[in-house]
């Protein structure tokens, strides 16, 4: 599975004149330029450059291919796509099914497009010396494959066209991070979503709204982020599951409510899609610079959980865990995605909608006697600090969800003793949460021998969120290129409370340690310093809005081996 972005370009498709100019430097040695205008105009300097790189030009008469099939000119892309698919050595049915399902409601257009696709696939360009597409070792291990009746495709394609290595993807799913979070939220039985559009999280609002008829979720775009946060707390306070999603700037506005959730021990979940700030920053780019924000925002002191999924699969499962955790511990959970994960399509193993069990942790009062009910206290002190939370409106014993410091029933207090008691009660949850949260995941590009079960290899990389995807790809590349060099990766998706056991273990194992973060201030590393007394010595930080590229990571690792 391809998880990373690269900054090298193999094929450039020129649909306008400027295309070539923009990507001249990034075209790989031996790359290809496909063009649908008869001649590509180039400056002399540029032609020389391209010649030096042995770049080949392929002219595809897309307009003609379209005409042949009685399509209109907007379909020229489809012809090129068809040719490209052949170039990649991929079976035509995969891409054809995408077209068929895209135009499911317009079968005639679908048919024309598929025919054009076929013409493109079948086209043989002139003056084209044989080209071996420089497959990246990891590219196209799996490919898009919507659930279209494959029989249908036989109407259009020869079995030869369709007889490429087995690409059955029925066990895969291709969605964006936002869609994965949304699907997870639906699965988690979230019943209200209150949102306000903000890149890169708007997609969650859009997706959930479009599926509301199917899911039964109440999905509402409200007037601002403060409202969204307040409504989530209102819903949660009566015993429902509600969600909101935003980005850093919108989250700033929610932080007063975050603090409210803290003191009232009301469950609260917010997705923060990271994009580079400060301010409006680079609104359509990616970053990992809102981790300390998630950990420290909101006035006063209260426990919280911070989770950052690595990919769509984690996004789908961990948002469900987020709801179990927020209700179990009655602390807010912040769910950090980033623009790269949120808005790009990733291929992943098919999601199992029954894997994460829903644990509502709502206190069941149905078997209580009247006396027991009367003795229930919403904020009773307990061993773990977690008190019974029963649904508003269910029994005659009431309580106040109170923003003021309060007693066990929620009445306002301000004496010293009660204040200390309540703060202790809330804060003691931390050590239990710490003990319960899953540890960071360790990935290794080598086999563990029995004797050395904890080995972190020659190099141990620490990373979090979507950056880990690129790290894992890099580890695969390294394994192919340098099978003797052992590399491990400690991946944090549960970031707070911060687990330091594995990092300490790795440090003690004597491995060289290296951390990658998509930010300037090295946010995870600073927190590791705070909690372990020592940070990770080798660092690569990136803060230009781009995700890490495979090449950068590989290079950094190579340098460490020197």
């Amino acid at each position: 599975i391809v998880r990373s972005a690269s900054n090298k370009v193999d094929v450039v498709i020129v649909l306008n004149q400027q295309g070539v100019k923009w990507h001249l430097e990034e075209i790989q040695e031996g790359g290809i330029v496909i063009h649908d205008t008869k001649k590509v105009r180039l400056t002399e300097k540029d032609s020389i450059l391209l010649k030096e790189k042995n770049v080949q030009f392929i002219y595809i008469p897309a307009a003609e291919l379209v005409k042949e099939n009685e399509g209109n000119l907007q379909m020229a892309n489809t012809a090129i796509l068809g040719y490209l698919w052949k170039l990649f050595g991929l079976p035509i049915n995969s891409i054809a099914s995408v077209i068929l399902s895209n135009f499911a409601k317009k079968p005639q257009i679908a048919e024309v497009n598929v025919k054009i696709l076929r013409s493109g696939f079948a086209f043989e360009p002139k003056n084209f010396s044989d080209y071996k597409f420089p497959f990246h070792p990891l590219s196209f291990r799996d490919v898009i494959f919507p659930s279209i009746d494959q029989g249908k495709l036989k109407n259009y394609f020869s079995s030869e066209m369709m007889s490429k290595p087995n690409m059955s993807l029925s066990s895969n799913v291709l969605v964006s991070g936002n869609e994965a979070v949304s699907l997870g939220a639906i699965t988690a039985e979230v019943s209200e979503f209150f949102g306000y559009p903000m890149t890169p999280s708007s997609g969650i609002l859009t997706f959930l709204a479009e599926k509301a008829h199917v899911s039964g979720m109440l999905v509402k775009q409200v007037e601002d982020e403060i409202t969204a946060a307040g409504m989530v707390i209102g819903s949660m306070s009566v015993g429902s599951r509600a969600l909101t999603a935003t980005s850093g700037g919108g989250f700033d506005l929610m932080t007063e409510h975050l603090s409210l959730a803290g003191i009232t021990e009301t469950p609260f979940v917010c997705v923060i899609g990271q994009r580079p700030g400060p301010g409006t920053g680079l609104p359509t780019w990616t970053t990992q610079a809102d981790l300390t924000l998630a950990v420290y925002s909101g006035h006063g002191e209260f426990p919280r959980i911070v989770i950052a999924p690595r990919d769509t699969s984690e996004a789908f499962y961990l948002i469900q865990e987020a709801f179990n955790l927020t209700e179990k511990w009655q602390v807010p959970v912040l769910f950090l995605t980033d623009k790269f994960l949120a808005e790009s399509l990733f291929l992943s193993d098919k999601f199992d909608a029954r894997k994460v069990k829903i644990e509502r942790s709502v206190f069941d009062t149905s078997t209580l006697t009247d006396e027991q009910k009367a003795n229930l206290h919403r904020y009773a002190d307990t061993e773990t600090g977690v008190s019974p939370r029963w649904k508003v409106g269910t029994i005659s014993k009431t309580y106040i969800t109170n923003s003021d410091e309060h007693d066990i029933d929620g009445n306002v207090i301000d004496d010293s003793e009660s204040a200390i008691l309540m703060q202790n009660k809330r804060q003691k949850k931390v050590k239990f949460i710490e003990a319960e949260l899953p540890k960071p995941i360790v990935y290794r590009n080598f086999d563990l021998t029995d004797e050395n079960i904890k080995s972190y290899g020659d190099i141990c990389i620490v990373s979090w969120g979507s950056t880990t995807n690129v790290v894992l790809d890099a580890m695969d590349v390294m394994k192919l290129e340098n099978p003797t060099k052992k590399i491990s990766c400690i991946h944090y998706s549960y970031l707070w409370p911060l687990n330091t056991v594995l990092v300490n273990e790795a440090k003690e194992s004597g491995t060289k340690m290296l951390i990658f973060e998509g930010n300037y201030q090295s946010e995870l590393n600073e927190m590791l310093k705070m909690k372990t007394g020592k940070g990770i010595e080798n660092t690569l930080l990136k803060y230009d809005g781009r995700p890490f590229f495979l090449e950068e990571i590989v290079e950094k690792i190579y340098n460490l081996f020197k």
């Binding site: 399902s101 898009i144 919507p146 659930s147 799913v173 291709l174 969605v175 699907l183 639906i186 699965t187 039985e189 019943s191 209200e192 209150f194 599926k211 008829h213 199917v214 899911s215 039964g216 109440l218 409200v222 007037e223 403060i226 409202t227 969204a228 307040g230 409504m231 707390i233 209102g234 819903s235 949660m236 306070s237 009566v238 015993g239 429902s240 509600a242 409510h257 409210l260 009232t264 098919k350 999601f351 909608a353 029954r354 508003v392 409106g393 269910t394 029994i395 005659s396 014993k397 009431t398 309580y399 106040i400 969800t401 109170n402 923003s403 003021d404 029933d409 929620g410 009445n411 306002v412």
Partner: protein
């Protein structure tokens, strides 16, 4: 009326603490009116969700029974609406001060009206920030000197009813803390509007604050308020009539239900899906995934 029975009922709504408002504060009257209204409507404390804002008004939170919420300054509406949308069976009553409603929370006020979320909203309009010791609010009369504006409040006095009426609302009323009986009746009508599923019911309650509000005192109000209990329904349903009625903030201040939209549709009715969903969510997810590219 069986007074014994009524007293017992109000007792149902007795909170754990005694009020701490200043002597003569209008909050006492509002407090009694709310308790009486709920009792008379036979709504048991466990079926009501009383949502409070921060301020002298919000200090009622532990002086009354019911499931309660006491959140952030200016933010009671989102919380109350969130609760109602999560559980439509609750009678949700949001209360807040004029400071909270017409300054910090103005956006929520307007959009809650526009959306016809079916809750009841009672504003304790004492025309100042009582809890923070008497700063001007949006409804403070212009030019009156207050804490932090010793030369007189420079902004124009807000007419909240006029503002609300510009939004084509479904239920607008005005009460007065000094007339508990009529206030109680208004609150009952407002709650009934909610129970009938007709959208937002909004009541601005003119409230005396003897400590900080020397401009519009209890006495001042008694001289100016005019009970409009006997409006005909064709008047109550007439937006222009209502807009005319509320213009006056100085001489004949109307009390009562001032406007009721004949055509309002509550948010919940507006978004109601035709088919109730019967499948479990895991199945829905599986089908959704199958349908995705």
């Amino acid at each position: 009326m069986d007074f014994q029975k009524e007293a017992e009922k109000i007792l149902d709504y007795k909170g754990e603490h005694e009020p701490t408002w200043c002597g003569g504060c209008g909050n006492y009257g509002i407090w009694i009116a709310i308790k009486r209204a709920l009792s008379e409507m036979n709504i048991p404390p466990e079926k009501v969700y009383l949502c409070f804002d921060i301020g002298c008004n919000g200090n009622m939170n532990d002086k009354i029974d019911g499931y309660r919420f006491h959140g952030l300054h200016g933010r009671v509406l989102p919380a109350a609406v969130g609760a109602k949308l999560a559980n439509n069976d609750l009678v949700v009553i949001a209360t807040a001060g004029d400071g909270a409603t017409y300054s910090e929370g103005m956006g929520h006020f307007i959009h809650t009206l526009r959306n016809e979320y079916p809750i009841t909203f009672l504003v304790h309009d004492n025309q100042n920030y009582g809890l923070t010791t008497g700063q001007c609010s949006a409804t403070t009369k212009q030019n009156i000197p207050m804490n932090s504006s010793p030369d007189g409040n420079s902004a124009k006095t807000l007419n909240p009813l006029d503002l609300a009426l510009s939004l084509d609302p479904s239920f607008v009323a005005q009460g007065f803390s000094g007339d508990i009986e009529s206030l109680k009746e208004i609150i009952k009508k407002a709650i009934q509007h909610q129970i009938d599923g007709k959208g937002l019911s909004y009541v601005n309650i003119l409230q005396s604050c003897p400590t900080y509000n020397k401009a519009t005192t209890q006495k001042w109000y008694f001289e100016k308020v005019k009970n409009m209990e006997n409006l005909e329904s064709k008047e109550i349903n007439n937006l222009s009539f209502a807009r005319n009625l509320v213009k006056d903030l100085e001489t004949e201040i109307p009390l009562g239900v001032i406007y009721r939209s004949p055509s309002a549709v509550s948010f919940i009715d507006h978004i109601k899906k035709t088919d109730p969903i019967t499948k479990d969510r895991a199945t829905i997810t599986e089908e959704l995934i199958a349908s995705l590219v």
